[in-house]
Symmetry: C2
Amino acid sequence: MKSDKISEFTTNRLSVYLRCLNKLAAAGETSISSESFALRFDLNSAQIRKDLANFGDFGVRGLGYPIDTLRENLIKILGLDRERHVGIIGAGRLGMALTDYYGLRRANFTVSALFDADPGKIGKKIGQVVILDIKDFSAAVKKYNIDVAVIAVPSSAAQIALQMVKQSGIKAVLNFAPVPLKSGPDIKVNSIDLTTSLENLSYFLAKSDDAKEG
Amino acid sequence: MKSDKISEFTTNRLSVYLRCLNKLAAAGETSISSESFALRFDLNSAQIRKDLANFGDFGVRGLGYPIDTLRENLIKILGLDRERHVGIIGAGRLGMALTDYYGLRRANFTVSALFDADPGKIGKKIGQVVILDIKDFSAAVKKYNIDVAVIAVPSSAAQIALQMVKQSGIKAVLNFAPVPLKSGPDIKVNSIDLTTSLENLSYFLAKSDDAKEG
C-alpha cells in the first residue's frame, strides 16, 4: 500500500467515489467498469484507476469493479468502519444544530458532548447529549474517548479553543469559525469555509447584474 | 476586462486575497509587493499577479499593490458592495443557526426570511427574522427581493426545495443538505460539503491508528 503519499485531493475523491458507489448499489447494480463509472458521474476514468490502485487491485479483468467489495474497501480505507467520538465546543445555535446533524452520524461520528462557558447552558441536554463546562474539556475527552473536536465558537474565541483541543491530545478538528486557524503538523484542522462559498455566489450575482446593465 | 472567462478557482482565490488584505490593512500596512504578499500568506506570487491582471492593472511599479485600493476593487469585483437578501428554507436548528451567522452578515448577506412547512413554527421570529409558510415562498421572494436561497432542509426534501427556488427565479443557492443536487445552467448551487470534510478527517485518524498498531 502506497497510502503514505496519499494527498488530500485523493482522499476527497475517494469520498466522492464512495457516494457514487452507494447510489449504484442502491440501484441494484453489482459491477461497473472505470469508464462507465466515469461517464455516469462525470469523473475521469484514468484518475479513478490511479486513485484506487494506490490501495490495491480492486478491478476484475473484463468485469470492472465489483461494487460491494469496492464499497467495503473504501469504507475501510476512509476509516468509516470505526465509530468516532465528537466533542462540540460552543453550544450556540450552530453547535446545537450540529449535535443532531445527519451528515455526522452517516460518517459514523457520534456526538458525545457539547462544551460551553455559559453557566445557564451547562448541565442542559440537546437530545441525549449533555452540555459540559468547557473547564472540564480535557477530563471529558478522556472519559468519552473524544477523538474529533468541532469548533463552533465565535471567531474571536476559535484560536483559544484550538489551543485547548491540542493540549487535550485530539488530532482531528472541524472548524466552523470563519477565521483561518494556526494549527501545526500533528493536528488536522478542516475548516468549513462558508465565506469563500458566499463570496463566490456574490461574484456570480454581480456578474449577472453587470450583464443585465451592460 | 476578461472576467467572462474567470473560473471558480480564480474567484475563490480572490476571496482569499481579500481576507489577507483585510489583515494587512488592520495591521496598518499600506502597500505590498506580490512577492511579499505570497511569502506572508503562503501563496504563489505569479498566480496572484495573473489573477489580479484579469480585472485591471492594480500594481504600482516599485511600490507593489496599494492595499486600500486593491481591497476596494476586490470588494467591488466580488459584488460585496451590494446587499444581498437571503431566504433560508428550513427553520430547523441549522436554519436558525444560519439566521444570525456572522459569516453571512460579513459578506453583506442579510437574512430576510425563514421558510418552513411546520404550522407550529410559522409566524414565529428568530431575532428580527420571521418564519413564513413555505407555500408563500414565491410571493415572499418578490416582496423581500430575495436573491439568494439557503437550503437547510433534510436531504429527502432538498431537491424539491431547489425546484421551488428555480421556479421563483432565484439564481444563487447555498445548499447544506448532504446530497448532490441536480441544478442546471442558469442557477449557481454551492454545496457546503461536510461529508467530504468529515471523511477526510476519518481517513487521517484511521491512518494514525494504523501507524500506532503497525
